[in-house]
């Protein structure tokens, strides 16, 4: 648990002065109650004490809002939610946004050391009280560590770009779009910007912007009949030897290099292991060509980090999968064909300086429906904001 920062910035309205040991200590029912909310943990731990403390905090004057928001710094997600709900109660008790301590909230918002979601909440409170001031604040937030604040700031840049485009100022519009693209960490916004830039004749490197990994070594297929291969331990999980010949589902298999040309980094395993050709007299298949079924492949890549650092591995995959980083299991999920999207799974990891080995086990089941053909994944390495972490001297993506 991160120590609770006792910022006594605004709770004085509910504080009283006590003489303790000859010194003066500011005692505040709010700040005294916040640790109980921060102490909640898994499986309901601390809920009872938190409920009592919540009642005290929810009854506070609006001047306590910066303290309540600051208590979110380093708090676990459950504690942050206790605090989040208290903010609603305090704002309602104050009679709405118009009666909030806007200057204090703006100061809190300006301190980027605070929890990104707490800062976003402070922004929303300011916006409710003074929309014009909030809108002006966004101009300095295109590189903000809060993904949502950055998104709104980038949206303003996009709006300006669209105005320039409408006015026929294509060069200036393109420059504005490119500025927005470089800053954006929101997937839908990035995709919209890529289209806008290309429409104006510009170029974008989506693969590099996201940090998708394109180059892999793949081996398979291994057996996944009745889904039993998910739990089975095949040789790549025990020892990585890219020169080895391994026992696959239907004979010896070996590692093959694969470089995806998809700009969103999708590695389509069906292309590496196409299904057997149908008999010559078979009627033409309707819909997508069905790939192998009841199979497993492994994909491995080496990711070079310039330093020891925290990072996120983000995966999109509609097949069951497991991931290891440097031989250590990161996460696994046994779910087939429920959908795939960019950043579907976010996994905090620690990269070590130099080469890091990322191993993916990707499992295909035996369903035979039009939506169960895909056997693929997309993986990127980024920070917690979504900024791509690129290996040193990483070259731009060459279109394939």
């Amino acid at each position: 648990m991160v120590p609770f920062p006792r910022f006594l910035t605004g709770a004085c309205a509910v504080a009283s002065l006590l003489l303790v040991g000859g010194g003066v200590v500011v005692a505040s029912p709010v700040t005294d109650s916040l640790p109980a909310l921060r102490a909640v943990d898994h499986e309901g731990k601390g809920n009872a004490a938190a409920a009592k403390a919540w009642g005290v905090i929810a009854a506070a004057d609006a001047s306590a809002l910066p303290d309540i928001l600051a208590a979110m710094d380093g708090a676990n997600p459950l504690a942050a939610n206790w605090l989040r709900a208290a903010v609603d109660a305090v704002v309602a008790k104050a009679g709405g946004s118009a009666k909030l301590p806007v200057d204090s909230l703006v100061r809190f918002l300006g301190e980027t050391k605070h929890d990104p979601r707490a800062r976003r909440l402070a922004f929303d409170l300011v916006k409710g009280a003074d929309p014009t001031r909030a809108d002006t604040l966004l101009d300095g937030m295109v590189e903000d560590p809060s993904v949502e604040l950055r998104r709104d700031a980038v949206a303003k840049v996009i709006a300006r770009a669209e105005g320039l485009k409408t006015a026929g100022k294509k060069e200036e519009a393109l420059a504005a779009y490119q500025k927005a693209f470089a800053a954006s960490r929101n997937v839908e916004q990035i995709q919209t910007l890529a289209t806008a830039i290309r429409d104006l004749g510009g170029t974008v490197d989506l693969t590099r912007h996201f940090g998708f990994l394109r180059n892999w070594q793949i081996v398979g297929p291994f057996d996944n009949t009745e889904g039993k291969g998910f739990a089975a331990v095949y040789p790549p999980e025990e020892k990585l030897d890219l020169s080895a010949s391994l026992d696959g589902k239907e004979g010896k298999v070996s590692w093959q290099p694969v470089e995806t040309g998809d700009e969103y980094g999708i590695v389509n395993v069906n292309l590496t292991y196409p299904p057997p050709a149908p008999p010559a007299d078979a009627p033409p298949a309707e819909g997508p060509k069905e790939g192998l079924k009841g199979v497993i492949a492994y994909a491995v890549t080496e990711f070079v980090s310039a330093e020891d650092r925290p990072a996120e591995i983000r995966l999109g995959c509609k097949n069951a999968w497991k991931i290891w980083l440097n031989g250590t299991p990161v996460f696994e999920r046994e779910e087939y064909h429920r959908g795939m999207e960019i950043d579907q799974y976010r996994m905090p990891v620690t990269l070590r300086k130099g080469p890091n080995t990322i191993l993916v086990k990707i499992c295909q089941d035996e369903q035979r429906r039009p939506w169960t053909t895909e056997w693929e994944f997309q993986l990127r390495v980024c920070d917690d904001v979504g900024t791509a972490i690129l290996p040193p001297a990483s070259p731009p993506t060459v279109a394939k």
Partner: protein, 405 residues
């Protein structure tokens, strides 16, 4: 004397606590998904048959999207919503049932995954209430308990606790509270559980391993302290106090539409509809199969039960009436579909709201059904309506409407 009548008399004499008798249908309450017993039944004559635009008493903008159903507790209506670019801002909103004024709005952030199919939403499961508190869950498996005045009692992050509890298409199973236990089904392809959670503290009473497989169905209270959990394998009757299994029906069941209980009979979407007659003296004993009728298969909407009939809507929007005693099909009527929400009935009429927001009132005859009134809300409606205070409460991705008195 018919078998059904005999059964009703037996229930009334032996087990007065068994749902679903008329005296349990309170006109001012709708405390869970599909109301008492999940039968979507209201007292006869409690809803307006003639409908016009003037019957829309109020429509209120909601702070976010969702398709969860509405609760009505006295003069308060409760609904969940989700908003933000990733739907990670989760709201529980309390409104005046009579005026639609928002009385309070509490938010938490999603601690679990918010990915879901675009047609659904993170605010998909319907909350429940014991009359003093509201328990709400979201597709991210964030679970909260507030009192009726908006004071937070406890919260949980089920996926925060058990990281593989999720569904990439979205979760939608609704909650129940019985006695002092909240029933929390979070069944999915991977880490598949149902939990019994202490209604006072939010701590686990029990956590039950459940069949692995995506499951969007909702539980049903068989009697106070005994609930039916539905999965692809069938039905398990579970003691709410300790999670122990009273009995199991193992002949499979749907994973979308849910079962409904009425007058001691559980109508299960299994091989069409299978009627399981509970032991009137002790519903914890293995039930007997009264009948099975495969022509009554429901689609997304669950079956509804009232009078001497039950009703299902198939994927083509065809309403089918079946005889409750035999399961035999009585008549069919093509409605304007499609439907995601389960209709409401008082036994004489049925109120069905299709995805385009068209309310169709069907007169339920012995030999045929007839649409006698319609009202176009002009709003996409995917929720199952709630009925209380002489009105229907339906919500869209943007609004909550009250239709009726």
């Amino acid at each position: 004397m018919s078998r059904l009548l005999s059964l009703l008399i037996a229930i009334a004499l032996v087990a007065p606590s068994l749902p679903l008798l008329d005296d349990e249908l309170r006109a001012d309450e709708w405390l869970e998904f599909r109301g008492v017993g999940g039968a979507s039944r209201v007292k006869e004559g409690s809803l307006p048959v003639e409908l016009s635009a003037a019957d829309v008493r109020w429509s209120v903008d909601l702070p976010g999207r969702g398709l969860s159903g509405v609760l009505v507790v006295g003069d308060r209506a409760f609904v969940t919503t989700s908003e933000g670019p990733t739907q990670d801002r989760l709201h529980l909103v309390c409104l005046s049932a009579s005026t639609g004024k928002i009385l309070w709005d509490r938010q938490v952030w999603a601690t679990g995954r918010t990915m879901c199919h675009p047609k659904t939403s993170v605010a998909a499961p319907t909350p429940c209430s014991d009359g003093k508190h509201v328990y709400a869950i979201f597709s991210s498996n964030d679970l909260v308990c507030f009192d009726l005045d908006g004071n937070l009692q406890w919260l949980r992050g089920i996926t925060y606790d058990y990281p593989n509890v999720s569904n990439s298409l979205g979760m939608s199973s609704s909650l129940l509270v019985t006695g002092d236990t909240v029933i929390v089904p979070v069944e999915n392809d991977s880490e598949s559980y149902s939990l019994g959670i202490d209604a006072a503290t939010g701590e686990n009473r029990w956590r039950l391993d459940r069949p692995k497989g995506a499951n969007w169905t909702s539980p049903v209270i068989l009697k106070p302290g005994l609930v039916a959990l539905q999965s692809k394998k069938g039905i398990d009757a579970i003691h709410a106090a300790d999670g122990s299994t009273a009995w199991s029906y193992t002949e499979g069941a749907d994973t979308v539409s849910s079962s409904a209980l009425a007058d001691g009979v559980l109508y299960v979407p299994s091989n069409g509809i299978t009627a399981l007659t509970l032991d009137p003296a002790d519903p914890a004993k293995q039930p007997t199969q009264a009948w099975r009728e495969n022509t009554l298969s429901p689609a997304t909407a669950s079956c509804v039960v009232a009078g001497d009939a039950l009703y299902t809507i198939n994927g083509a929007g065809v309403l089918t009436a079946g005889d409750r005693e035999t399961g035999k099909r009585r008549w069919q009527l093509r409605l304007q579909g499609p439907y995601s929400g389960t209709p409401v009935t008082d036994g004489k009429h049925l109120w069905a709201v299709n995805e385009a927001g068209l309310v169709q009132v069907v007169e339920l005859g012995a030999k045929e059904g007839k649409v006698v009134a319609t009202l176009d809300l002009g709003d996409e409606i995917l929720c199952s309506p709630a009925a209380a205070d002489g009105a229907l409460f339906v919500r869209s991705n943007t609004k909550l409407h009250k239709i009726g008195r």
